[in-house]
Symmetry: C2
Subunit: 262 residues, 2 copies
């Protein structure tokens, strides 16, 4: 095993109050920030770091785990620890549900992804009637059962979000909305054809760390939060006609909104 290139990393300050594993993490973080390790580059192995700093392996592993929890690095078993590359970011514009974006044969996700040069996929498409939850009922009105449409979106094979739409049965049952493929323009186009002209959407945005099942579904690296978005669609009569609950890999998205100054 070769020694580290001289000057790549510094030395520890034994007089410092800062824990040794934090000092090591600080040095690696600084080296990453300054570009001495590029995106996707391999960090020194645990063995190299234990040698360089003269500490035990657990101390080094502690330092590396800090970087991972910060989202700066990710470990690959048998290969090494690498600087996390930033995935291409999907920008969600505030006009993404405007009517003019609905007159296509393909879904908005597909159109947009292909325009950006990515390969879009949608899987796990489950459409069925379900019992409503208190959360959904509060937003949708007091429906006991709802039509649920669940799906996961991927770009170039990487899962980026999964979503569940809920609609009142009296609106959706027996319509194309209850079909796996609701047709061009998606369910919003069908809602309007059914007489529910859409007026506006309310959107709530939260961020948090993912639960284990969300890590699995989105194949999230450690240190990547999720954006949790709950959107309610209202028709021109003021009725909530759909609630969409979406969980997105936070490193793959930026949300853009336009606010009125009134």
């Amino acid at each position: 095993m070769a020694a580290l290139p001289p000057g790549l990393l510094g030395t520890l300050d034994p007089t410092s109050d800062r824990a040794v594993f934090r000092q090591i993490a600080d040095q690696l973080r600084e080296a990453i920030d300054k570009g001495r390790f590029a995106e996707g580059a391999k960090l020194p192995s645990e063995a190299e770091l234990t040698d360089h700093f003269g500490v035990s392996r657990m101390t080094v592993r502690n330092a590396l785990s800090i970087l991972q929890s910060e989202g700066l690095a990710s470990a690959e078993h048998g290969r090494g620890v690498f600087v996390r590359p930033r995935p291409p970011v999907r920008r969600l514009a505030s006009d993404r549900f405007a009517r003019r974006h609905r007159d296509q044969g393909k879904s908005a996700f597909t159109v947009e992804a292909e325009a950006a040069g990515s390969r879009p996929e949608v899987d796990n498409l489950v459409v069925r009637e379900e019992r409503s939850t208190p959360e959904i009922s509060a937003r949708l009105g007091s429906a006991r059962k709802v039509l649920a449409r669940r799906r996961r979106y991927l770009l170039d094979g990487k899962p980026v979000e999964f979503a569940a739409s809920f609609l009142p049965l009296d609106i959706a049952r027996g319509t194309p909305i209850a079909e796996p493929n609701p047709g061009p323009g998606g369910i919003y186009a069908r809602l309007e054809e059914l007489g529910h002209r859409l007026d506006h959407f309310d959107e709530e945005v939260r961020a948090r760390m993912p639960a284990p099942d969300e890590v699995k579904t989105l194949r999230l690296a450690p240190g990547v939060p999720v954006i949790h978005l709950v959107r309610t669609a209202f028709d021109t009569e003021g009725r909530a006609v759909e609630v969409c609950d979406t969980v997105m890999a936070a490193d793959a998205y930026v949300l853009a909104y336009q606010l009125p100054a009134t």
Copy 2:
């Protein structure tokens, strides 16, 4: 040291492929989710868990660190590991910059916090001229120097966000905007008095794990992401007159927006 109450936690499955520390984390997570440990309650100590499961201390600590990185628990030195209580959430409405919310003597943050029964504070108020960054210049136009207003917001003594506003010098220099206290209605009211009638705001939302200095400034617990919000204010002539860069503790906020169906 007392043994754990029987039935509070289960036993390990030695035939499972799942690592022991993950199994322990799973059990604790399930117990928290099912309410067997309330918000703010103390989890079993490391010693109790090593006894209960018959594993070494590092294994238990590994399990507990998972829960912390998920934001479910936080350790307090000398006291124990506790189920993380959810702080009161501030809801930012999409009309929060509407003109009608500006005709008060106090800042919007102060008014809203007091209405919610919290004690608001603003500190670290730094107002000065700074060199612009490429990021700011791209949004604001090519100003070399800008007026920067930096401050941190606290609720009941807890930091919840810090923000920096940047304004072109040709607009802000020598005006009340360059004063620490810009007066009633804040800088948006002053901008309008100076002839820059506000038209709309563009807002970009991202979520990520905090950098170490952000952890310090917001006193963030492990496993709490930040919401990074960049807002650009435009006047009726289409000029960008302010860029506000805000970093918020994600567990203290929900952002609400209204989208047009056009």
